[in-house]
């Protein structure tokens, strides 16, 4: 079976006055039709930049896609012109962002903003676009949608705006939705509403989802497969149960042990990971996690481990050491 999206050796850099920022350092991954892939990592790990690169939404300059192949249904997106990309964004791949306050235009009504892409991409007239917009708003759970088309974004709460963003993303029935921390700005009860909504819509529409987040709790609830990123590299990739039950990369396992649990009594101090993520201004050599890693060996400091399979079902890690046995690869 061919993948919906197949990314190989993608590299993105930013040329800044302070020097080159090595944001994404040759990552390869794929997304299958209808699957939900979660991309997890801390700020600056390259999770958003890599997905923005896929859609060529990186500002050039200072940004630069320094290499790689992004195959969407077999076609290389990096070779497409801006005009061809415009047709793909929205129609084939849609994206929603973290901050629903700033991603809507404050001086246009909600109706205007939703119908715009229906008219541009689908060639609908205003009347049928309005009708479709009402259906979409209804689908994302906005009550009395025909009246709310004339409202401006400031009249909507944060959770409602995120629903509007999702409705806009769905206008052209995309095959892939990229959601960049869509619930991070929201309260936990509203986050639960939005997650439930995305899961329901994904089943209805049958689209694939890439869900970018830093929250390992959210990932556990929605993902089929998980990709953990650190300093511009993928360090572990596995199906969701394998990742949580049997994390194989030292970073993933430390991260899971650093989390307190709402459903458990306190049984220990939290495990903390010493130090901080490395500066991206230095060209990486060796494993990026080496300085914070408790399993570090000499080889880690000089040679960057490549992503390789360690278990069944495509459980991949980039590490020279097997953290269960201590054996070296």
């Amino acid at each position: 079976m061919t993948s919906l999206l197949d990314v190989k050796d993608l590299k993105t850099r930013f040329l800044t006055p302070e020097g080159t920022v090595y944001a994404v350092n040759g990552i390869s991954f794929h997304v299958d039709e209808g699957e939900t892939l979660a991309v997890v990592g801390e700020s600056g790990c390259g999770k958003s930049v890599s997905m923005l690169s896929v859609l060529q939404l990186i500002l050039v300059p200072p940004g630069e896609i320094a290499g790689g192949v992004v195959l969407y249904r077999g076609q290389d997106l990096l070779k497409k012109s801006e005009r061809e990309m415009e047709a793909i964004r929205g129609q084939e791949i849609a994206m929603i962002f973290q901050d629903p306050m700033t991603s809507l235009n404050p001086v246009l009504t909600i109706g205007k903003q939703i119908t715009e892409s229906l008219r541009v991409h689908m060639g609908m007239d205003q009347k049928s676009a309005n009708k479709r917009a009402v259906e979409l708003l209804e689908m994302v759970g906005i009550s009395d949608p025909s009246h709310r088309l004339g409202d401006y974004p400031h009249l909507f709460s944060g959770g409602m705006r995120q629903r509007v963003m999702i409705a806009m993303a769905l206008t052209c029935n995309p095959s892939l939705l990229i959601a960049d921390e869509p619930t991070t700005a929201l309260d936990v009860t509203i986050q639960a509403q939005i997650i439930e909504l995305v899961i329901r819509i994904r089943q209805q529409v049958g689209m694939a989802v890439i869900w970018i987040t830093h929250d390992l709790g959210v990932v556990a609830g929605i993902a089929d497969r998980v990709m953990v990123m650190y300093a511009g590299f993928i360090v572990e990739e596995a199906n969701v149960n394998a990742l949580y039950e049997n994390p194989r990369h030292p970073y993933t396992s430390s991260l899971l042990e650093a989390l307190p649990r709402v459903d458990r009594r306190r049984d220990r101090r939290l495990k903390s990971i010493p130090g901080a993520p490395p500066s991206l201004l230095v060209e990486p050599h060796g494993c990026p996690f080496a300085v914070r890693c408790e399993f570090v060996i000499e080889r880690c400091r000089t040679e960057n481990p490549f992503l390789t399979a360690v278990g069944e079902n495509h459980h991949n890690i980039a590490c020279w050491v097997d953290i269960k046995t201590g054996a070296q690869r």
């Binding site: 609830g221 969701v240 903390s272």
Partner: protein, 327 residues
């Protein structure tokens, strides 16, 4: 001073912010009822968690408690000092004893000041050391206490990472040797791997220095980990307060139950098996809060009484407080 008394006592604390209209002639047209009559105590050496969603008044409660905002009504005593009536020397003594750690380690440190100026400011304000040399020594001692090298004393905030900046904020709060610290979302701006560092630091400092914390947060998992007791706020009022395990294992208020059920668990099988109570709608405006119980428009159990009568804040079980007609 009586050492068996709670360190902090809050009775009916209220903070309303006026809503003004008009440009030249301003008149008050309403009030944001950010905190609307909350009561609790904090024992010496204890950590009380104050949780709730954005806009529930938890930060306002923390600030009003320390007298950073003048309270509209209510009584706050910290170590037998009345915060609302204190002036001059007594206020200075309260400020020395009760400190605050802020949420955003980027915005709460003056970018033009060195670590030394930032951490020694409380020492200068309270005239705690006579000479500059003594102050430098104290700042270095404090930096050691929070896990920063004393060699970095003349650096500026931008030279530090987020976690290190929060350590500077902690050192500043500790400078005047306080008994009580209000931690206002001290870790929510930090990455997961750094959060654990700061939480462990706060716990170590509490053990070593016998500190009492009010820990304001929205991360319910972390609150369960760090707090001894937890209070839940909704729209300016208290919904429930109990020992941490009691609250998480036997929540009584329907809002607490829904809030806890919405927290994701980092375990796919457990998370997907959890029964979520999805609350409809959003938190209403604190300018014009709902009548009766403020939670009634979103509450799955609400009936006619809930929309009419304000529920009493009462003890439902030993040291388990709740405000709900249905309990």
């Amino acid at each position: 001073m009586n050492e068996t008394q709670p360190l902090v006592k809050v009775e009916n604390l209220t903070k309303h912010f006026p809503v003004m209209r008009g440009i030249i002639v301003q008149r008050k047209v309403g009030a944001v009822r950010a905190v609307d009559g909350i009561s609790f105590t904090i024992e010496r050496g204890e950590t009380l968690g104050l949780v709730g969603e954005s806009g529930c008044g938890k930060t306002t409660a923390g600030r009003t408690l320390l007298g950073l905002y003048p309270a509209t009504a209510g009584v706050v005593t910290i170590d037998s000092h009345n915060v609302r009536s204190a002036k001059g020397r007594e206020m200075l003594a309260i400020r020395r004893m009760a400190q605050m750690i802020f949420q955003d380690p980027y915005a709460s440190l003056n970018p033009r000041w060195t670590v030394h100026s930032i951490v020694s400011e409380p020492l200068r304000v309270h005239h705690l050391y006579k000479t500059e040399a003594e102050r430098v020594e104290r700042v270095q001692e404090l930096m050691g206490l929070v896990g920063l090298s004393g060699r970095l004393i003349n650096r500026f905030p931008h030279e530090f990472s987020g976690g290190q900046r929060q350590r500077i904020g902690v050192a500043r709060a500790l400078a005047s040797d306080p008994k009580f610290i209000v931690c206002d979302e001290p870790i929510s701006a930090l990455d997961v791997s750094i959060q654990a560092q700061v939480v462990n630091l706060l716990e170590d400092l509490q053990d070593r220095l016998g500190l009492t914390y009010l820990f304001i947060a929205h991360d319910l998992s972390m609150v369960r980990h760090i707090c001894d007791r937890v209070a839940v706020m909704y729209l300016g009022v208290m919904a429930e307060m109990a020992d941490h395990n009691e609250l998480y294992e036997h929540p009584l208020h329907p809002y607490t139950t829904a809030l806890l059920s919405a927290v994701p668990v980092p375990d796919p099988k457990k998370d997907r098996a959890r029964r979520r109570i999805i609350l409809a709608g959003d938190v209403p405006s604190p300018i014009n809060p709902p009548s009766g119980c403020r939670f009634h428009p979103r509450c799955p159990l609400a009936d006619e009484q809930c929309s009419r009568e304000v529920p009493q804040w009462r003890l439902a079980a030993p040291s388990h407080w709740v405000a709900c007609h249905k309990v």
